[in-house]
Amino acid sequence: MIAHEDLRAGLRGAGLAIQVGPFVVRLRSRLDRVERSVALFYDRQLLPLASAPFADFHVTLARPLGLRSVWRPQARFFLDGRSPFRPLPLAHAYPLFEWGLNWCIAQHAHDFLMIHAAVLERDGRALVMPGEPGAGKSTLTAALALSGWRLLSDEFALLSLETGKLVALPRPVSLKNAAIDLIRDRHPQAIIGPSSHDTSKGTVAHLKPPHASIERMHEQAAPAWLVFPRFAAGGQDRLQPLDRAEALLKLVGSSFNYSVVGGSGFEAAADLIEQSDCLNLEYADLDASLGLLNDLAGGPA
């Protein structure tokens, strides 16, 4: 473990090396919010700099200079000295780090088929849940991760083009709006960071991944279930089989880099479909849907 003073010194100096699944992020920042959130969420993923001479992404979060920063403080994301997007209000510095890291991975990690999906695992078998924003994916993911499933990823599934297995990317789960209190009430022991209000996604707070998720981040998991959740307020929770061809189309439609990886991405997606039960989930009540998903894996964990 790295002491907090060292963490602070690292962030403000040569950078802090963070192991995020298959990637090493070298992060520099003088922003207190970033420091606090990194200390809270990534304390178990820090590497001594000497053991991480190569980093995949060199990220800096900084306040832009200029007169405007006096009355409207902002935070800007830099990858290796270049800033790919507009600054955000300083209060959103930490979500900006997470979003920026998504961008870095999506731009560069073409040894994976990258899919906008949550991934959880039980007994070596992975549940892949692609979902449109608003489908309730993060709430389901958080609830599953806090009740016995191992979290591989909240919204960024990495399907290895080499092994055909899912690779973990343990990062805080991004909870939005009502889901924040819902999870806090159900799981008082869960570690949830401060809320950022009025972001482009509403109010956002992050849930720290459980220990097992971090300790076992280098264990890959074979796909077993591909479930497309759809939030249907007031409806009845149910799982319905989905035609494989349609599942394949929906899966590649959720991919960030399907068009880049081409043929090998198609093969990997088709293999995933081949190995998985493909299902649609109509999701209205959290407990009812959790029950359905647990039953897939042979009952509550």
């Binding site: 190569f54 790919p84 997007f85 507009r86 040894d111 880049v260």
Partner: protein, 368 residues
């Protein structure tokens, strides 16, 4: 003064087996420098060809591999675009000459593997450029995002149409009628280019420039037209082309230098060979420099240009920048515009462009 990461990149570009000597910490910076220079995919191809890719540690190898996947994808798209351009223009008997990256890929030249690029550049005869625009329009290429001033600027003063974007595929196509603006200080004759062009197998009516012209065009683009952002990438293109053409034709150096004078492009060629030898150890014989003696700038000018190009050709990465890098790049930018147009046209244009950039800069960045 060359800083270590750039020196290592240049050493690996010139001799890929040198990559075996790199530590992980070396790779950490080298990958980033190669990335901003658009040379990451090229680096992968060179290292793979030399048979030493398995010796690259897995962490940097993954990034080189990803860049190669992206480049291969771009190449597949370029082949597709070229076939669509052929469909649009061949029935109208409008000849098309592919330039730069598209030519390297379609002609299977050694500068192609791993090369990254975005736009397709083509040349059509000036008399047919309007017809070409119309037939490309029918197939979905439109000119969008350019205001009336830009449109007039391109059509009146430039050697190309404003860039065309395909409506559905969003691919960008640059249609030229010659290789430099009509107002430029140098005046290469496009007729000569057409006369020496080579037909492209499988695409009747499509051509690539002859070997010497291919080198001259790349040199002109870099050293006269001032596209320096990917300067080192372009030097690497020419290095690969020259090595191949010299191997195929022992008289190539004489042909190239004679052609440079014939095309009025001897000065850009002189710079290309000078900095190719300096940066990438391109094997240019002294006889070629002797043949280009008349194109060599006078000593005071050459000293100045050395000072500018040695800075401007480096990758635009903080680790390669010295105190004067920004100034050198700015002066080279001004120079390229000065070479492109006489001052009475240039000054109003630059003022107008600057005002527009200030307004646009604030709008253009993406939301995270």
């Amino acid at each position: 003064m060359t800083r270590p990461a750039l020196a290592q990149l240049l050493a690996v570009l010139a001799e890929p087996t040198a990559s075996r000597a790199l530590s992980l910490a070396d790779w950490d910076l080298l990958v980033r420098v190669a990335r901003v220079a658009s040379l990451e995919g090229r680096l992968q191809a060179l290292i793979e060809d030399a048979g030493v890719l398995p010796d690259v540690p897995p962490a940097p190898r993954r990034h080189l591999h990803a860049a190669r996947i992206l480049a291969d994808r771009q190449h597949a798209m370029v082949r597709w675009e070229v076939a669509r351009i052929h469909e649009a223009l061949a029935p109208e008997a409008i000849p098309v000459m592919l330039l730069k990256g598209a030519a390297y890929v379609m002609a299977g030249l050694p500068s192609a593997p791993g090369r990254q690029f975005s736009d397709v550049d083509i040349l059509v005869p000036q008399a047919q450029i309007q017809a070409a625009e119309q037939h490309l329009f029918v197939q979905g290429w439109v000119c969008e995002g350019y205001d009336a001033y830009d449109q007039t600027y391109y059509r009146q003063w430039m050697h190309e149409l404003p860039p065309l974007t395909h409506m559905r595929r969003k691919s960008v196509l640059d249609v030229h009628h010659t290789i430099l603006p009509p107002t430029a200080r140098l005046d290469p004759d496009p007729e000569l280019l057409w006369a020496a062009a080579l037909p492209l197998d499988g695409f009747p009516g499509m051509y690539v420039p002859g070997p010497a012209d291919m080198v001259l065009h790349s040199a002109t683009h870099l050293f006269h037209d001032g596209e320096l952002e990917n300067g080192l990438r372009d030097l690497a293109d020419m290095d690969a082309l020259l090595r191949r053409f010299v191997a195929d034709d022992s008289g190539f150096w004489e042909r190239l230098t004679a052609r440079a004078f014939e095309m009025d492009l001897s000065r850009p060629l002189y710079y290309a060979l000078r900095y190719g030898r300096e940066f990438l150890q391109t094997p240019v014989p002294d006889s070629a420099f002797r043949a280009l003696a008349a194109a060599r700038p006078a000593p005071p000018l050459l000293a100045l240009m050395d000072g500018l190009f040695r800075r401007g050709l480096k990758p635009h990465h903080w680790s390669c920048d010295g105190r004067l890098s920004g100034t050198a790049r700015w002066l080279l930018y001004v120079r390229s515009h000065y070479l492109r147009m006489p001052l009475h046209l240039l000054v109003p244009h630059l003022l107008r462009k600057a005002a527009k950039d200030v307004r646009k800069g604030k709008r253009n960045q993406a939301e995270p």
